[in-house]
């Protein structure tokens, strides 16, 4: 949480709101927010319903807590970036910022699909037609 606080100005400058969520009840969340001087709201999910709905319920620790995870959501709640960490205690912010600086509204770069190396039948037809039209050799410069 402290890292998000430390980089909150950058996140705001990039046009993002920030909200954090845990299974802690309101009193504990309030204490944490005050202790760490957190500039963003802390949402409380003591019933663990949201944590379960997001597939982030860690039943093994402390009576059931959230696995750490970070999502960048667009205005229609579409997930643009996701970072899950089931082993370490903290989420790495560098990956997040690399993504954010590349522009969160731009779609992921399209990977051109290679359909194959061997020309299709229509390609051979086109080649034959061009050979008949223009000859085999390229025009001289």
């Amino acid at each position: 949480m402290a890292e998000y606080r430390d980089r909150f100005a950058e996140l705001t400058a990039l046009g993002l709101g920030v909200v954090a969520l845990s299974v802690d009840e309101a009193q504990r969340s309030r204490a944490l927010g005050l202790q760490l001087h957190l500039p963003f709201p802390l949402l409380c999910d003591p019933a663990r319903e949201v944590v379960r709905a997001y597939g982030l319920f860690n039943a093994k620790e402390n009576g059931g807590i959230a696995y750490p995870a970070t999502f960048v959501l667009d205005r229609d709640r579409t997930v643009r970036f996701r970072s899950l960490d089931r082993t370490a205690k903290r989420v790495d912010l560098e990956g997040l910022f690399t993504f954010l600086r590349s522009g969160i509204s731009s779609p992921p770069p399209a990977v051109p699909v290679r359909s194959g190396i061997v020309p299709r039948a229509r390609d051979w037809l086109r080649i034959a037609r061009n050979m008949l039209r223009y000859g085999i050799r390229s025009p001289k410069p």
Binding site: L11, G17, L73, T78, R82
Partner: protein, 46 residues
Amino acid sequence: MTHLAPPNVTDVAPDFTLSDASGTPRRLADLCAEQPLLLVFYRGHW
């Protein structure tokens, strides 16, 4: 519902309403509507 997976990129994140630490109800759809949102799940129980 069991074994839900975390929403992936291009999925729509499930909407919800939770109270914040001050007791104010906050709905995810409303939080996202103004600007893109960073939603951070943390372990709690610190």
